[in-house]
C-alpha cells in the first residue's frame, strides 16, 4: 500500500514540475560569431523579391497561365517555377533547366520509379506535346517513387512530365505526387505546358 502512495506522490511531483508558465517578455543578449554563410545579404528587397525570388522579376523568363488550384511556391536553384498541387499540396509541379539530353532525363525519371531505361528507338517513339515554343517529349511513370537525396521511397506515386531541348539546355516540367492527385491534375498540367512560352 505504501508503495502505491509513493508512486502517486512521485507522479504528482513530476506533473507539477512539468507545468511551466509561458513567458511573454524575454530579454535577448545572445549573439553568434560570423561564419562563411554570412555573405553580404540582398538589402531592401521587396516582399515579392523576398518570397518569389527571380519569379518576381518576370516569372523565370516564361509566360504561362497558372491552373486553378495550384499554389505557387518559392523558386529555387533547381526549380525556376514551382507549384504545390492537390487538396493538401501533396503533389508538386516544377520547371527545371538542366544539362544533358532528352534521353538521359527521360531515363533518370524512369529510374526514380524503378523502370528500365528506354533505348534510343523507344525514346524516339515517346508521345509528344507542344509547349515552350516547340515539341516536347511526354513521359508517364507510376509506382514507387525514389526521389533520392536521402528522401524515402514513396509508394503509389505517379509522374507526368515533359522534356524539351534547346541548343543551350534541357528544360523539364515535372508533375509528381500521389497517383490520384497526378491523374486528377493531368489535363490541367498539359494545359499549363501548352501555355508555357519563353518571355520575349
Amino acid at each position: 500500500m505504501q508503495d502505491r502512495y509513493l508512486m502517486v506522490a512521485l507522479a504528482a511531483a513530476l506533473a507539477l514540475v512539468g507545468c511551466k508558465p509561458q513567458a511573454t517578455v524575454v530579454e535577448i543578449s545572445e549573439t553568434r560569431e560570423l561564419t562563411t554563410e554570412d555573405t553580404p545579404p540582398r538589402l531592401k528587397a521587396t516582399s515579392a523579391e523576398r518570397f518569389q525570388g527571380s519569379r518576381a522579376a518576370g516569372p523565370a523568363g516564361y509566360r504561362y497561365e497558372t491552373p486553378e488550384g495550384w499554389t505557387p511556391q518559392p523558386a529555387s536553384m533547381l526549380r525556376s517555377l514551382n507549384f504545390a498541387i492537390g487538396p493538401e499540396g501533396e503533389g508538386e509541379v516544377y520547371l527545371s533547366r538542366t544539362r544533358g539530353d532528352v534521353g538521359s532525363n527521360v531515363n533518370r525519371w524512369r529510374k526514380q520509379f524503378g523502370m528500365e531505361p528506354l533505348s534510343p528507338g523507344e525514346l524516339a517513339k515517346l508521345p509528344r506535346t507542344v509547349g515552350l515554343g516547340g515539341e516536347l517529349a511526354l513521359v508517364d511513370a507510376a509506382g514507387t517513387y525514389a526521389p533520392g537525396m536521402g528522401r524515402p521511397p514513396q509508394e503509389g506515386f505517379a509522374l507526368v512530365g515533359v522534356i524539351g531541348q534547346s541548343p543551350d539546355e534541357v528544360v523539364t516540367v515535372k508533375m509528381v505526387g500521389p497517383e490520384a492527385v497526378v491523374q486528377a491534375e493531368r489535363e490541367r498540367f498539359l494545359q499549363f505546358v501548352r501555355s508555357l512560352q519563353p518571355a520575349e
Binding site: Q2, D3, L6, L14, A15, G18, Q22, A23, T24, V25, V26, E27, I28, S29, E30, T31, R32, E33, L34, T35, T36, E37, D38, T39, P40, P41, R42, L43, K44, A45, S47, A48, E49, R50, F51, Q52, G53, T66, T71, P72, Q73, P74, M77, L78, A84, E88, G89, S96, T98, R99, G100, N105, K111, E116, P147, G148, M149, G150, R151, T172
Partner: protein, 404 residues
C-alpha cells in the same frame, strides 16, 4: 506476519530506498520501456521520427498519451527519458544494496556497471548531443553546419553592406509559440525590440493574388503566411512568423513577414543604420574550416542504391591543412565532431557538373559509449558464465561422491 510487522515499522526513507532498488520496480520499468518503444515505433509512421522521438524520449516530456493511427489512446504513460532515469537509480541502488559482493559475483557486478554506463550514455546523448548538416559545393569552403530542426530569428547589423554582428533569438524562445501567441523580445544590445506573433511551424508566404487566405492570416505588403500541416520529416518544415519592430518605449513600428522559405532577409532602417531580419535554421560554427576538393559517387547498376560516395576534403585550422577522405560508413572524427557522408546534389547533375556534398555533423560526448558499454557488459557476462561453468565442472566429482 512478523516480517510484515517489521516492514511496517521501517523508517520511510528505508522504505523508499527498498522500493527504488526493488526487482518489482525494475520489471515495471523494463516493461514500460518495451511498451514505449513499441508505441513510439508505431506512432512515428504517421507523425514522423523527430516529433515522436521528442514526445517519447525527451526530458522535456513527463507524461504522454500515445496515438495509434492518428487516434489518441487515453492511457497516460511516463516518457522513456524519465523511465530510463528511474531505471538508472533502480539499477544503481540494486547493484549497491542487493547484489552480493564477492569474487563469485564479480561478473554480475561488471555487467551491471556496463548497463549503468549504457543508460548514462543515453542520458548524455539526449541532453548534450547536437546534429546538423553541412553542404559544400566542390571548390568551396565552409565552417558552419545548420541544425536540422532548430529555427532562430536573427537580427544582423549591416556595415558597408556586409554582416557585422548577428543577434539571435534562440529556438528555445520560439518553439513553444502558438499562432495566437505574442512574445516581446527585448533586444539588450539593439535600439529596438521585436514582438513575434502568428508563429507557425510550417507555412509558406503566398501572394494574396495567388492563394486563398483565411480570416486570421495577416496580409503584409501583399503576402500572407499560408499554414500547412507539419511535415512527417520534420526537417522539411518551414516556419513563418509576423514580426513587429517596437521602439524601446513600446511604440509600434514596421511589421514584417519572416519565413524560412524566403530568398532574402527583411531590411530595417533605423537612424540611418541597416539591419537584416531573418528566420532561418540555426547555424552552428565549427572550430575548423572544411574545403571540398572533389566529390565522387557511384550507384549499384540500374538502381538508385548508393554504392560509393566519397568526399575529398581538407580540414583547415590555424593555418594548417589536413587532407581527409570521408566515405559512406567511414566518417571523419575530429575534436568531438563526427562528419558522416550524408547525401549530395544536384540530383539532375550531368557528367562534369559541379556537385555539392552534404555531411551530417554530430557532436555527441557519448558517441562511443554504447559500444564500450556493450564490451563491458559482454565481458561481465562472459566472466560470470565462465565462472559458473568452472564451478559446475569442479563440483562434479563432489556431486558424484555425494550421490554414491
Amino acid at each position: 506476519m512478523e516480517s510484515s510487522v517489521a516492514n511496517r515499522n521501517k523508517p520511510l526513507a528505508a522504505k523508499v530506498v527498498e522500493f527504488l532498488s526493488g526487482y518489482a520496480l525494475a520489471c515495471i520499468l523494463m516493461l514500460l520501456l518495451l511498451v514505449l518503444t513499441w508505441l513510439g515505433t508505431l506512432e512515428q509512421v504517421d507523425r514522423g521520427l523527430f516529433v515522436t522521438v521528442k514526445k517519447y524520449f525527451s526530458y522535456e516530456t513527463f507524461f504522454l498519451f500515445p496515438e495509434i493511427k492518428g487516434k489518441l489512446v487515453p492511457l497516460p504513460l511516463p516518457s522513456a527519458f524519465w523511465v530510463g532515469a528511474v531505471f538508472f537509480v533502480n539499477l544503481a541502488l540494486g547493484t549497491i544494496l542487493r547484489v552480493r559482493k564477492g569474487w563469485k559475483t564479480i561478473g554480475v557486478l561488471i555487467a551491471h556497471g556496463g548497463m549503468l554506463f549504457l543508460l548514462l550514455g543515453a542520458f548524455v546523448t539526449q541532453v548534450f548531443s547536437e546534429r546538423g548538416n553541412m553542404a559544400i559545393t566542390e571548390g568551396e569552403v565552409s565552417n558552419v553546419a545548420q541544425h536540422y530542426f532548430d529555427h532562430v530569428i536573427e537580427v544582423t547589423e549591416i556595415a558597408d553592406g556586409k554582416p557585422a554582428k548577428v543577434h539571435v533569438i534562440a529556438t528555445r524562445h520560439l518553439e513553444d509559440l502558438q499562432p495566437d501567441d505574442e512574445r516581446l523580445f527585448k533586444m539588450a544590445n539593439l535600439p529596438f525590440d521585436l514582438a513575434v506573433s502568428g508563429y507557425r511551424v510550417n507555412a509558406r508566404p503566398v501572394s494574396v493574388s495567388q492563394g486563398a487566405r483565411g480570416p486570421a492570416e495577416e496580409v503584409i505588403d501583399g503576402f500572407f503566411l499560408q499554414a500547412r500541416e507539419p511535415e512527417v520529416e520534420a526537417e522539411r518544415n518551414m516556419p513563418g512568423a509576423v514580426v513587429e519592430v517596437r521602439a524601446k518605449d513600446g511604440t509600434p513600428g514596421e511589421r514584417f513577414l519572416l519565413s524560412t522559405a524566403s530568398f532574402h532577409p527583411a531590411t530595417l532602417e533605423i537612424d540611418g543604420k541597416l539591419y537584416a531580419l531573418n528566420l532561418r535554421k540555426a547555424l552552428w560554427k565549427m572550430p575548423f574550416t572544411v574545403a571540398l576538393d572533389n566529390f565522387t559517387h557511384e550507384f549499384h547498376p540500374g538502381t538508385m542504391r548508393p554504392k560509393r560516395f566519397e568526399s575529398e576534403i581538407r580540414r583547415i585550422q590555424d593555418g594548417r591543412e589536413e587532407p581527409v577522405l570521408i566515405k559512406m560508413n567511414d566518417p571523419m572524427r575530429r575534436q568531438g565532431f563526427t562528419f558522416f557522408q550524408a547525401s549530395w546534389g544536384p540530383q539532375n547533375a550531368a557528367p562534369g557538373d559541379t556537385l555539392f556534398s552534404v555531411f551530417e555533423v554530430v557532436r555527441n560526448p557519448a558517441d562511443k559509449w554504447p559500444e564500450w558499454s556493450l564490451y563491458v557488459t559482454g565481458v561481465g557476462l562472459l566472466v560470470h558464465f565462465l565462472m559458473k561453468l568452472v564451478l559446475f565442472i569442479t563440483n562434479q566429482p563432489k556431486r558424484r561422491v555425494r550421490a554414491s
